[in-house]
Homo-oligomer: 247 residues x 2
């Protein structure tokens, strides 16, 4: 799949993804830009059924975690770099939020490169946003040390079925010229007209007993009480992993 044709794939054939192919994908993906060429990220490659089974609850048991031949947990990792520093008479100081943010950004650039290259090679992938909801479960199952924080997960395999491409906003909805220009009521109507006109949007609204598509997002899919709760979990795990020291 090219970038233009791509769509997430959640169902995979039983065909294995060879180690040689996977390592060549990750090796090429490392060409992504990164901060100071420190490469403060790690990829945990999970194929073992028992480990995937242990990871599944962190992803609310979405079936692709156990069904995919390979699960990649992409981590912001200042541990390796810090160990190197200590072994070279240098005193590392990366136990802070800014180091996490930089490492997480670099990890995400690596992750998108892995996705693009994998799709070019005929594989299908799905990103799991649940990674930042339950990072404590993942850190525990994967034995992540201090200064390693999971930021995203990619399930990967050969596509069993290729779903339809989802809708996207018109490009002018996300682009601002020179500076940010706020949206008028008419702008918002224009931007969301297509999305709201789709049959699946009507279906979502009906299934959830709501009166607008937006209410499906705010009341059912991403209610404030959940986001607030998972915010607290995220900050707690960031603290446990050493990136958020008490001020």
């Amino acid at each position: 799949m090219t970038i233009k044709e791509r769509r997430s794939v959640r169902q995979y054939t039983s065909e294995a993804v060879s180690d040689a192919l996977l390592l060549s994908i990750i090796d090429e993906a490392q060409r992504a830009s990164n901060t100071g060429n420190m490469q403060t990220y790690s990829v945990v490659v999970t194929r073992d059924k028992a480990v995937k089974h242990a990871l599944a609850p962190a992803h609310f048991n979405q079936p692709m975690v156990e069904q995919a031949p390979v699960v990649l947990t992409i981590c912001a990792d200042f541990h390796r770099f810090s160990v190197w520093c200590e072994q070279r008479d240098a005193v590392p100081g990366f136990d802070n939020v800014q180091s996490f943010v930089g490492a997480a950004i670099d990890a995400m650039l690596l992750a998108q490169n892995i996705a693009t290259i994998a799709e070019r090679e005929g594989l299908g992938i799905c990103f799991l946003g649940t990674t930042t909801y339950n990072p404590h479960i993942i850190a525990d199952v994967l034995h992540l040390p201090r200064l390693v924080m999971p930021v995203t997960t990619i399930t990967m395999g050969y596509p069993a079925t290729l779903p339809a491409q989802p809708d996207r906003l018109p490009v002018n909805a996300i682009v601002h010229t020179e500076t940010y220009h706020d949206y008028s009521a008419a702008d918002i109507d224009a931007i969301y007209t297509h999305k709201e006109s789709l049959p699946e949007s009507a279906k979502f609204i009906a299934e959830n007993g709501k009166s607008t598509l937006a209410q499906v997002f705010t009341d059912v899919r991403y209610p404030k009480r959940n986001s607030d709760y998972f915010s607290k979990v995220f900050l707690d795990v960031l603290r446990t992993q050493g990136f958020l020291p008490e001020q």
Copy 2:
């Protein structure tokens, strides 16, 4: 440039990047995976000399900001989505860290797609990690409203010079099988041998009057006092932009 051949480009010719090309790149990049298909990101496209000049201090006056024909500031943006919710009788609840993290992750996937597509089209790009050091300056210059936070910046133009590709760690340095395996002293030596053997590493050490390459990173480039300071700035701006409410 393909992903395998890519390298950051910091010097550009005076050739303009057309609006049509730029919009087609961003439109295609939107095919990246994103959380719940909410597309909670924005791209501010800056070409105006005065605006680039105002942005430059946020990036410590790195010359490519003013020299590049186009500067893209990629933002995590829950403002547009929240305005839509309010306009559709829904009560948005995205003023929290988890919403920021999700939006930032999606913004970075978009950013890497923009980079890959631009390079395929013959352009050169450079990511600016300084974006998260001085987000307050950027928010001010670009008039970013509440629930919009800059996460990275891409300078873009046709390459004037193509620098040598930088080194990367051997792929097995960043890959862990099944679970995270900690690094022995011998592992660390093996991983960093090549990097430490490079002539530019010896040059860095000599120029900075240090005795190891690691000390250049910990004492000169990324000292703890700076990272701690910029961590505080980042959290303050996250609070100002509405993503970190007082508990």
